[in-house]
């Protein structure tokens, strides 16, 4: 076993990878936005307890959560050949993580003490104000750590999009490797960029968690 690491290739591939990394970040940011919004909306709907809506929703979410992201991506990709793969990728990963995020929101909403609801009823606050002014602000405090974890997890799952030809970083590395017969530098660097980007985020989340636990 001999390692012939080529620095020339390394400097050659790095800018190309960083270009692909922009797509990775784009997917993470928009995907997170979808996950947070859809997750929150579904969590609130679930809280209403209106069974004709909550049952199908919770079945759909359980189903999405227990089936692989790759299969969902490929299924939608082959079913809609006219839509740009990037859009499919963002939508599917966003919805996939929305299912996790809505669980986090649900747990946060459940953690708000019952008295808070009762107090709102006693003050005869309208339903909308109860949610916006009282319940959600308290629920969100408990949700932040899980939210951070989900965003990091989503960030590390973006390479799955390479399967449906979205030119994010790993796809770029794969294509470069195939073109130049140098998989080693491209894929190793891609892995290192993930490590460098996600480790500080993990540390930040841990710090945030500790801070929230103290207050």
């Amino acid at each position: 076993m001999s390692i012939d690491w080529s620095w020339e290739t390394t400097w050659d591939v790095l800018p190309v990878l960083l270009e692909g990394f922009k797509t990775t970040l784009l997917v993470t940011v928009i995907g997170s936005a979808i996950a947070i919004l859809a997750g929150l909306i579904v969590a609130v709907i679930q809280q209403t307890g209106f069974k004709p809506v909550t049952w199908p929703l919770s079945f759909a979410f359980t189903f999405i959560r227990s089936t692989p992201l790759v299969v969902q991506l490929t299924a939608v990709y082959v079913a809609m050949p006219t839509v740009k793969p990037l859009y499919i990728g963002i939508a599917v990963i966003g919805v996939h993580y929305a299912t996790y995020q809505s669980e986090a929101f649900r747990a946060g909403i459940d953690a708000v003490p019952r008295h808070q609801w009762e107090a709102c009823t006693a003050l005869s606050l309208p339903r909308r104000r109860t949610w916006i002014a009282v319940i959600l602000p308290q629920a969100l405090r408990g949700v932040v750590p899980a939210l951070g974890n989900n965003i990091v997890a989503m960030f590390k799952d973006t390479p799955f999009l390479s399967v449906i030809t979205v030119t994010e970083m790993v796809r770029v590395a794969q294509v470069y490797g195939g073109d130049h017969f140098r998989y080693m530098e491209a894929l190793t660097l891609a892995g290192l960029i993930f490590l460098v980007a996600s480790y500080p985020t993990s540390l930040l989340i841990r710090r945030l968690e500790a801070r929230l636990a103290r207050s």
Partner: protein
């Protein structure tokens, strides 16, 4: 629709192969995951700083890089280094290493969650360090480990679908074959998704059994195993029940970032 259904039924026996590959990947990955989780988890609580440091670096490395990158690295780069391994081994290694690193955090957390008085009591009773671990600390930590481990196994199952990208004909790939054969995207992938769902459900169900056995060993449940009431936590278990480790919150606030 009628002929398409017939075409699907004709192709269904081929699914066996893909199903077996997916199950092999999941089983192999899970075994490796557990071995690594215990090795790294124990190492990260070791008294020697050097052992702890090495374990932390390994854990952070495999958690910080993506599963897809690791699998591609093993598949594309190792041959360049002169090491040829089969795609199946690539898949199992990548899955086991990635989720093993997450598992190590679960193990570390569960060991840390065993109340200190339990260790002290075992010391006071004159247990040897090995017996202390084997008879007091581990059985209690094990109960706490099971729910998050279950989540990891299901995620490993779902991660195994990427193996179709390294030439393995797994369930996911079989779906593509069926789609090409019948032209019916909805039906082909519907079947694949339902099959993954069923596997995930079986894992869930098996692990509930394992959890019951572990709790039974600690005397935390007293109903017979077929009695649905056994999942009601008796008063004694209130103290030992894992606080954040509910099955409903797979990426809960416990268990590190995932």
């Amino acid at each position: 629709m009628g002929d398409q259904l017939q075409a699907v039924l004709d192709h269904l026996p081929d699914f066996q192969h893909g199903l077996i590959v997916t199950l092999e990947l999941t089983a192999g990955g899970t075994v490796l995951m557990f071995i690594l989780a215990f090795a790294l988890g124990l190492a990260s609580t070791a008294p020697a700083a050097i052992v702890r440091g090495v374990a932390r670096v390994v854990i952070e490395f495999f958690r910080g890089t993506s599963l897809v990158v690791q699998m591609f690295w093993l598949f594309f780069v190792l041959p360049q280094l002169g090491v040829e391994i089969s795609p199946m081994l690539c898949g199992i290694l990548a899955l086991g290493l990635n989720y093993g690193a997450y598992g190590a955090e679960v193990v570390r957390g569960a060991l840390g969650a065993v109340p200190v008085p339990q260790r002290e009591a075992a010391v006071a009773l004159g247990f040897s360090p090995v017996d202390r671990f084997r008879r007091v600390v581990f059985p209690q930590a094990w109960v706490q480990m099971i729910p998050p481990m279950k989540v990891l196994i299901i995620q490993l199952l779902k991660g195994s679908a990427i193996a179709s990208a390294i030439t393995l004909v797994d369930l996911n790939f079989q779906g593509q074959i069926l789609r090409n054969a019948t032209g019916n995207t909805f039906l082909a992938y519907g079947i694949v998704l339902v099959l993954y769902f069923i596997i995930a459900y079986v894992i869930e169900w098996l692990m509930k059994g394992v959890e019951y056995l572990a709790k039974h060993r600690l005397g935390l449940v007293d109903a017979a195993w077929w009695d649905p009431r056994r999942y009601r936590t008796p008063a004694l278990a209130g103290a030992a029940a894992p606080a954040g480790a509910s099955d409903e919150d797979p990426r809960g606030t416990r268990g590190g970032d995932r």
